[in-house]
C-alpha cells in the first residue's frame, strides 16, 4: 500500500493544488459543524453563517478541483490517491484520505453546490425555528458525511461517511420531533436504512476476505483486482456484490426497502431536497458506480445471453412500483419522493444493464431538477399554501401568483419527464437506449413505461398545484376578494386546522405575524400573495437554469461527450464486447429516441386531459370513479396503501418473526430456564438447611458469640475513652503518632 502510495505521489507531483488538496472539501464543513455547535447560538445569524461559508469554501475548492481534473483527464487516467494511516489492527492498516477521479469530482461538485443552495434557501425557510442552529449543524455535518464518502480511498472511510449521513438523516427528518409522526418517520428511516447497512458491513468484510485490501482505487485496489480477475472465488464475489447491493437497496430506497423514503418527507423541505437530490439516496447508486467492477464481475453483467440480473431487476421493479404510487399521493412532496425512488430505479437499472455512463449522468442531471422541484414545493408551502403540502385541499391556481416558482417548476418537470432538449432527456433516454442496445430488452420496455408514467404523474401534480381553482390555503392568498362561499363556521374550522399546523411545525410559529389573526374578510392579506423572498427564488432560478443546461455536457444528439470523457477513467472497466467489458454506448438516432418522446408526449396529454376532467370544476363521469367502480377502487386502495408493504413489514414480518421469537423466548424462559433455576434453588435450599443446622448453628454461631462476648468485654473497658470530646480524640491521635515516631526512631537508630 505504501509503495503504491509513493509511486502515486511521484506520478502526481504535477497535479494542481486543488487536486492535491481535495481532502479539504469534507474537512471544512466538518469543522464548521463543531463551530456551529459550540458558537452558533452566540452568532448574530444563529450559526448559519458558518454553514454557508463552509459550503461556499467547499464549493470553491470543488470547482477548482473540477477545473483541474478536466485538464488532468486530457493526459492521464490515473486517480489522485492520498492517504494517511488512521489506525492499525493486526497488521491491517486503515487509511483515511482522498481518491480523486472523475466520479468523485463530479459528486463533490454536485454535493457542495446543492448544499450551498439549500443552506441559503434554509436561512429563509426555517427562519425563527427553535432549533435553527442545530438544523444548520446537522445540515453541514450531513454534507460533510456525503463529501467524505465520495472521495473515500477505501471502504472504511466510505462506511464512515455513509454512517454519518445515516445519523444526520435521522436528526434532520426528526427535526420537528415534537409531533410523534415525525419522530416515527425518523426512526423508520433510520431502521430501514440500518437493515440495509448490515449488507454494507458484510459485503465489506467479504471484500477484505476476497482481495485482502480495502483500498478502492489504484493498482492494488479492489476495483483493479476485480476487473482483472485476480481473486480465488467467483461465487464469493457474487455474494459480496449482493450483500453490498442490499446496502444500496436500503440507502437508495429501492424496492422492497423504499418505504422509508416517502415518510422521510416529515423533515423540513430543504432537508428533503438535499436528501433526495444529491446526497443520502444517491449514496447507494454511488456505491454501485464506485465499485462497478465488483458488481459487473460478480453479477456477470453484460455476459452474452444474460437478460436479467439482480441489480437491473431491482431497479426495474422500483421504477414501476414507485411511479404507480406517485399517482395516488395528495401530498406534493410525496409525489416527488416517489418520483425520486423511481428515478433512482432508473439509475440502478442503468448500472444493471451496463450503462454506467448514462446512469452516472442521470445522477448528475437528476440532482439539479429534483432539488429544484423540492425547493419549489417548499416555496409553495412557505408563501403560497400556508404550510400545507396537500395538493388537493390547499393548492391550485398558483401559476399567476408565484411566477418564479411556477416557471422553475415547469422547467424542472419537463427535465424530469424527459422532454427533448431538457437535461433529463439526455440522461434518461440514454439509459433506455443502452438497455435495448445491451440486449436487456425487457428493461428497455420498463424504462419506456416508466417514462410514460413519470410524465403522467408529474402532469397530474402540476395541474393540481398550479392550475384549476385555488383551494384551501392557496385560496386564502390568491386575491384580496377571496372566495367566501365558505361561511364563518368554515373559516373557523380552517383557523383550527391552521392552529394545529402551527403547533405541528414549531417553525411556523415564527410566521404567526402573517397568520390568520389579523385577516379581515375581503381585505388583502398582510403579506403579499406573491413569490417567496430572494433566498428562496434565487436558488430556484439557478437550479432551474441548470435543469436545462446541465444536460448539454453529455448530449448524444449533438455529439457532445464532455462528461463521458471526464469520467471514463472512473468506470474501472474498458469499453468492449468481451465479457468483463462494458459495451460501447449506442450511437444516438432520433428514430431510436422516438418511442420515448412519443410516450412522454402521450403521458403529458392524457394526464392533462384526465386531470382536467377529474379535478376540474365541471361535474362529469370521471369524478369519484374510484368510489363507484369496485375494480378501480380496489386498485386505488391497493396503491394508497402502498402495496401493503408497510403492513407486511410491521404486521406480518415483525409479527411473524419477532413475536414467535419473543414467545419462544418466553417459553424457554418459563420452562427451561425457570426449571433449571428452580432445581438449583431447591438443591440450594436443602444444602442451606443442612449447613444451617450443622455449620451455622454450631461452628459459626459459636465463634460469633464468642467473639461478641470478647468484644463486649473489651468495649466495656474502652468505653471511657470514647468521651465524645474532639480534642481528646486529637490528643490520642497525636499521642499515638508520637509513640509511632518514637518506635521508628528507635528501630532506625
Amino acid at each position: 500500500m505504501f509503495a503504491e502510495e509513493a509511486a502515486g505521489e511521484a506520478a502526481h507531483a504535477a497535479a494542481g493544488w486543488f487536486l492535491e488538496h481535495a481532502w479539504l472539501i469534507p474537512v471544512i464543513p466538518a469543522v464548521a459543524f463543531f463551530l456551529i455547535i459550540f458558537f452558533g447560538k452566540k452568532m448574530p445569524k444563529g450559526g448559519s453563517e458558518f454553514g454557508i461559508l463552509a459550503m461556499v469554501a467547499s464549493l470553491v475548492i470543488a470547482a477548482g478541483t473540477a477545473y483541474q481534473w478536466i485538464d488532468w483527464s486530457h493526459h492521464s487516467e490515473e486517480p489522485i490517491i492520498k492517504s494517511i494511516t488512521w489506525w492499525e489492527s493486526g497488521g491491517l492498516k486503515f487509511g483515511i484520505g482522498q481518491h480523486i477521479d472523475g466520479l468523485a469530482v463530479m459528486a463533490l461538485l454536485l454535493v457542495s453546490f446543492i448544499s450551498t443552495l439549500v443552506q441559503i434557501y434554509s436561512t429563509e425557510y426555517v427562519r425563527g425555528d427553535r432549533r435553527y442552529t442545530h438544523f444548520f449543524a446537522s445540515l453541514t455535518l450531513f454534507s460533510a458525511g456525503m463529501l467524505s464518502m465520495v472521495l473515500a480511498p477505501n471502504m472504511v472511510q466510505f462506511i464512515l461517511g455513509w454512517e454519518i449521513m445515516g445519523l444526520c438523516s435521522f436528526m434532520l427528518i426528526g427535526h420537528w420531533w415534537e409531533e410523534e409522526a415525525n419522530s416515527r418517520a425518523a426512526l423508520k428511516a433510520f431502521f430501514t436504512v440500518r437493515t440495509g447497512d448490515m449488507g454494507l458491513l458484510v459485503g465489506t468484510a467479504m471484500l477484505l476476505a476476497i482481495f485482502g485490501t480495502l483500498d478502492i482505487g489504484g493498482e492494488g485496489g479492489i476495483n483493479h483486482l476485480a476487473a482483472t480477475g485476480e481473486f480465488d472465488s467467483k461465487s464469493m464475489l457474487m455474494w459480496a456484490a449482493i450483500a453490498l447491493f442490499i446496502a444500496c437497496i436500503g440507502k437508495s430506497g429501492q424496492f422492497p426497502l423504499h418505504t422509508w423514503l416517502p415518510d422521510a418527507m416529515a423533515g423540513p423541505t430543504p432537508v428533503s431536497s438535499l436528501l433526495h437530490s444529491s446526497t443520502m439516496v444517491v449514496a447507494g447508486v454511488f456505491l454501485v458506480a464506485r465499485l462497478y467492477p465488483v458488481f459487473h464481475t460478480g453479477l456477470d453483467i453484460n455476459i452474452a445471453g444474460q437478460h436479467f440480473n439482480f441489480i437491473a431487476v431491482i431497479g426495474g421493479i422500483t421504477i414501476l412500483i414507485a411511479a404507480a404510487l406517485a399517482f395516488v399521493q395528495n401530498d406534493i412532496k410525496k409525489v416527488l419522493a416517489y418520483s425520486t425512488v423511481s428515478q433512482l430505479g432508473y439509475m440502478m437499472m442503468g448500472l444493471g444493464v451496463g450503462a454506467w455512463m448514462p446512469a452516472v449522468f442521470h445522477i448528475f442531471t437528476h440532482a439539479f431538477f429534483k432539488c429544484c422541484l423540492f425547493l419549489c414545493a417548499g416555496s409553495i408551502a412557505h408563501t403560497g399554501s400556508h404550510h400545507s403540502f396537500d395538493m388537493k385541499t390547499d393548492m391550485g391556481g398558483l401559476r399567476k401568483k408565484m411566477p418564479v416558482t411556477f416557471w422553475t417548476w415547469i422547467v424542472s418537470t419537463l427535465a424530469l419527464c424527459g422532454v427533448p432538449f431538457f437535461s433529463g432527456f439526455f440522461s434518461k433516454d440514454e439509459i433506455i437506449d443502452s438497455a435495448k442496445h445491451n440486449h436487456y430488452t425487457v428493461f428497455g420496455i420498463i424504462g419506456l413505461i416508466g417514462a410514460f408514467m413519470t410524465a403522467a404523474y408529474m402532469t397530474r401534480a402540476t395541474y393540481l398545484t398550479f392550475f384549476g381553482k385555488a383551494r384551501g390555503g392557496a385560496a386564502h392568498f390568491v386575491d384580496g376578494h377571496e372566495d367566501h362561499s365558505h361561511d364563518e363556521a368554515a373559516d373557523e374550522v380552517h383557523h383550527d386546522v391552521d392552529g394545529l399546523d402551527t403547533h405541528r411545525h414549531p417553525v411556523h410559529a415564527a410566521h404567526d405575524d402573517h397568520g390568520h389573526g389579523d385577516i379581515q374578510h375581503g381585505k388583502p392579506l398582510p403579506f403579499a400573495p406573491s413569490d417567496s423572498p430572494w433566498q428562496i427564488t434565487v436558488p430556484l432560478i439557478i437550479l432551474g437554469a441548470l435543469a436545462v443546461v446541465s444536460g448539454y455536457l453529455n448530449a448524444a444528439p449533438f455529439k457532445l461527450h464532455y462528461f463521458e470523457h471526464w469520467l471514463e477513467s472512473s468506470m474501472g472497466l474498458p469499453f468492449g464486447e468481451e465479457p468483463g467489458m462494458i459495451p460501447e454506448p449506442p450511437t444516438f438516432s432520433w428514430a431510436a429516441a422516438a418511442p420515448s418522446i412519443i410516450l412522454v408526449a402521450l403521458g403529458i396529454t392524457l394526464s392533462w386531459l384526465i386531470s382536467k376532467k377529474v379535478f376540474g370544476e365541471e361535474k362529469n363521469g370521471l369524478q369519484g370513479l374510484t368510489q363507484r367502480n369496485a375494480l378501480l377502487g380496489a386498485g386505488h386502495k391497493f396503491l394508497v396503501n402502498k402495496y401493503y408493504l408497510d403492513a407486511l413489514y410491521e404486521g406480518v414480518i415483525v409479527k411473524a418473526i419477532a413475536h414467535p421469537i419473543a414467545r419462544a423466548a418466553y417459553w424457554v424462559n418459563q420452562h427451561v430456564l425457570d426449571g433449571v433455576v428452580n432445581a438449583v434453588g431447591i438443591g440450594g435450599r436443602r444444602t442451606g438447611e443442612w449447613v444451617y443446622r450443622n455449620v451455622d448453628q454450631r461452628v459459626v454461631d459459636g465463634a460469633v458469640n464468642g467473639s461478641g462476648a470478647t468484644a463486649r468485654g473489651a468495649g466495656g473497658v474502652l468505653q471511657p475513652v470514647q468521651s465524645g470530646k474532639v480534642s481528646m480524640y486529637g490528643a490520642l491521635l497525636f499521642g499515638a503518632a508520637a509513640v509511632g515516631a518514637l518506635v521508628l526512631v528507635l528501630v532506625n537508630s
Partner: protein, 99 residues
C-alpha cells in the same frame, strides 16, 4: 546547617498546630491549626527537597496545598452547617459520639 533551621521552623509550627488542635474550643481555630500542621509538613518537604536537589518535594508541597484548600473548604462548610443547626461552634458541645 541551613536545613536545620528549616526543620526547626517546621517543628515549631507543627507543635503550635498540635497545641491549637488540642486546646482550642472554637472549630474554626482548630481548622486553622490544622493548616499550620500541614504547612509545617510543607516546609519539611521543601527543606529535604533542597537538600537532595530534586523537585519531587516541590510537587508534593503543591499537592498538599491543593488538598489543604479542599479540606478546609469541606471543613468550613461543616462548621457552617453545625452553626446553623446549633448556633454554636464550640467543640465541647459536639459530644454525640460519646460511647
Amino acid at each position: 546547617m541551613l536545613i536545620n533551621q528549616f526543620l526547626l521552623l517546621g517543628a515549631l509550627l507543627f507543635c503550635m498546630g498540635v497545641y491549637g488542635v488540642l486546646t482550642r474550643k472554637n472549630a474554626v481555630m482548630v481548622l486553622l491549626s490544622i493548616e499550620l500542621i500541614l504547612n509545617s509538613v510543607n516546609i519539611n518537604l521543601l527543606a529535604f527537597d533542597a537538600m537532595n536537589g530534586g523537585s519531587d518535594g516541590n510537587v508534593f508541597a503543591l499537592y498538599i496545598i491543593a488538598v489543604a484548600a479542599a479540606e478546609v473548604g469541606v471543613g468550613l462548610a461543616m462548621v457552617l452547617l453545625i452553626y446553623r443547626n446549633r448556633k454554636s461552634i464550640s467543640l465541647d458541645d459536639l459530644s454525640e459520639m460519646k460511647g
